[in-house]
């Protein structure tokens, strides 16, 4: 299996080097695939928007195995792509290794921080967006039990869970928040069967709203919620349209904006850490025609108040990643 993938990977990198034009930006997706209707797809939408608005062309590539991260990132840089946008926390070591080899190429890493002169690190305040959807869940639940399905148990995903629990407990201190993770290997991001089973087990424990932060696995979670006639919360992209009137809202993470900005800034873009939070509009919650009937005016008003308070600095949401503890667990 792995050897076949390596072969295919080698073939595709050859094709890549042959066709890429000079100084086009490039995008490397994380595991889970370009069309995961979530994290990667948001990046794809951002680059498509850039291509449509500027008429430029870009190169993108999907990885199918851990071993391809370094190999593909290096190929993209070697082929002259600039800037090279790399998605996902797991690529932190990738850029640690590849970025110093290409000092004239600008790299953008999304979801993790690499401190190198030619790397822009984009991180999101997931805890703030999750806080808001946690509040919505706590106001919408009828059983006073809500739940969370994460992909792997890593600080990034626990930050989602922690923000969600904090928001829910701000509304109702006695609420029960069930937190589960799908697995401990990368397949945890792409196992809708297990996602659906975990969601069903949470429903049997009384949960009536489930928040999925698990990439492609989340599709199974959302499906299970609709099958059970309960509510779910999507992640990263706006997933409200996947199951109208069953997806309560989606925790938005504007990966598309981050990719769009990087492509627009072009080669030699400003490096350093860029933090996308509520104040900069980098995270938020989704409200559209698909969930208009689920979110009442009072719910929206309460969330907007909290949002304003967070932006003004009156309310601070604890970020799990700062000290690996969560006040709401």
């Amino acid at each position: 299996m792995t050897s076949l993938k390596t072969l295919l990977g080698a073939a595709s990198t050859l094709a890549l080097t042959a066709t890429i034009a000079q100084a086009d930006p490039a995008l490397m997706y994380d595991l889970g695939g370009k069309f995961d209707k979530s994290f990667n797809e948001a990046a794809f939408n951002g680059s498509e928007r850039w291509a449509a608005e500027t008429g430029g062309s870009y190169r993108d590539i999907e990885i199918s195995a851990e071993a391809q991260r370094v190999q593909f990132a290096r190929r993209l840089a070697e082929a002259g792509a600039n800037p090279v946008v790399v998605l996902g926390f797991a690529n932190e070591p990738t850029l640690q290794e590849v970025a110093p080899e290409f000092p004239d190429t600008s790299f953008v890493l999304i979801d993790a921080v690499v401190d190198l002169p030619n790397v822009r690190s984009v991180v999101f305040a997931e805890e703030q967006g999750s806080y808001l959807v946690g509040m919505l869940a706590a106001m919408a639940t009828e059983t006073d039990t809500i739940s969370f399905v994460g992909g792997m148990e890593i600080p990034l995903i626990t930050a989602f869970a922690c923000g969600y629990a904090q928001g829910a407990k701000a509304v109702n201190p006695d609420i029960n928040v069930i937190v589960n993770y799908t697995g401990s290997t990368p397949s945890a991001w792409n196992d809708p069967v297990r996602g659906s089973e975990i969601a069903q087990s949470q429903f049997s424990q009384g949960s009536d709203i489930v928040f999925a932060a698990a990439g492609g696995t989340g599709l199974g979670v959302l499906q299970a919620a609709e099958d059970a006639g309960l509510l779910s919360i999507g992640v990263d992209s706006n997933q409200n349209h996947l199951h109208p009137a069953s997806v309560l809202t989606s925790m938005l993470k504007l990966v598309d904006q981050a990719v769009f900005d990087a492509f627009s800034d072009g080669p030699g873009l400003e490096t350093g850490v860029v933090r996308m939070d509520l104040a900069s509009g980098g995270v938020g919650y989704a409200l559209d025609e698909h969930n208009a009937d689920l979110i009442t005016d009072e719910m929206q008003a309460a969330v907007e108040d909290a949002k304003a308070a967070i932006i003004a600095g009156e309310l601070s949401v604890h970020d799990y990643r700062t000290d690996s503890t969560c006040p709401a667990f």
Partner: protein, 321 residues
């Protein structure tokens, strides 16, 4: 632990065991006839894709299931052609089928639906309906019988019941029919079967075809019953767990059922309890999720006693002149 938790876990166990059970019986029949089949995983994967794709296009899950069975049987016959007719190495042929399936499903899905190697989500009639057994609602509140009948037995897709029905059927076929006797004989001593004037080739092709049908049902249930659509590599090693269960059960149908139920139970428990405390020691979620695989290793490393495969297993039959 209260009754609802137990009901939920057993309910989940039945669902998760179903694809394993089909695949396990498929491997069992094929190997009883002397044809090793490493390619269960690949056949399930192709069937899962075909079921989801055809069900989406036609809007009818049963057309999808039929197509999945056909696709899986075709792959089985390829395996048969390579290992029975051309006397190739059965293991290599099986591995080749796994490779082929992993690649071809994604390539076709990408070209067809342009969604990154997955099929669109299925809904309505394109998904396997859940059957409510008669009187399930009426009996729901009866103590003991209610949770057992309404909570556990009722409310699954049709293929779950078919899978468990296949256990006595397989047993009956193998041990109570002439075809079964010959099938077992061909796996133990094909020369004797040949001498008595029965075609070894025909019997082995028959077994391989049945194996294809069962793998097709396994894959179809995975993509249309357990989830709503196909995603890349969605079998996630279930074909190999089924092989392990088959060896664990020493190539016998009833023990095979208990073996897959054990694997299904472990997966259900890992999904339900992510951190278990035993004697003040907390087992982390990773340990729970690794349990089925650890168990496979432990079991196969000798806990089952001596597992003796059919004597002519893995060998192509060459007629003496």
């Amino acid at each position: 632990m209260d009754i609802t938790v137990i009901v939920q876990i057993i309910d989940s166990t039945l669902r998760l065991s179903t694809p394993l059970l089909f695949a396990c019986l498929a491997g069992l029949i094929s190997e009883r006839a002397g044809v090793f089949d490493i390619g269960l995983e690949g056949k399930m994967l192709v069937a899962a894709f075909t079921a989801a794709a055809i069900a989406f296009v036609s809007g009818n899950v049963w057309i999808g299931v039929t197509a999945a069975v056909l696709a899986s049987v075709v792959l089985s016959l390829v395996h048969g052609l390579a290992s029975i007719t051309f006397r190739g190495n059965q293991l290599i042929s099986g591995v080749a089928i796994n490779f082929l399936a992993a690649g071809i499903t994604v390539v076709i899905a990408q070209n067809w639906f342009r969604q990154g190697g997955r099929t669109p989500s299925l809904s309505g009639d394109a998904r396997m309906p859940r059957l409510n057994l008669p009187f399930a609602d009426a009996l729901r509140d009866v103590p003991l019988i209610g949770p057992l009948y309404s909570g556990i037995l009722s409310g699954h897709g049709l293929l779950v019941y078919v899978a468990f029905l296949c256990v006595p059927l397989t047993w009956f076929m193998l041990f109570r029919t002439r075809f079964g006797l010959r099938l077992r004989a061909v796996g133990e001593n094909p020369a004797a079967v040949d001498t008595s004037g029965v075609s070894v080739t025909a019997l082995r092709y028959g077994a391989v075809a049945i194996c294809g049908v069962l793998c097709g049902l396994a894959g179809a249930y995975l993509s249309t019953g357990l989830s709503a659509g196909f995603v890349q590599e969605m079998t996630a090693g279930r074909g190999f767990i089924a092989l392990a269960a088959m060896i664990f059960a020493k190539w016998r149908p009833w023990p095979a059922m208990w073996a897959v139920l054990l694997f299904g139970l472990l997966e259900a428990v890992a999904n339900r309890f992510q951190n278990i405390e035993i004697l003040g020691l907390t087992l982390p979620v990773q340990a729970m999720q690794a349990l089925p695989y650890i168990l496979t290793v432990v079991i196969l490393a000798g806990f089952v006693g001596k597992a003796i495969p059919p004597r002519a297993g893995g060998q192509a039959y060459v007629k003496e002149h």
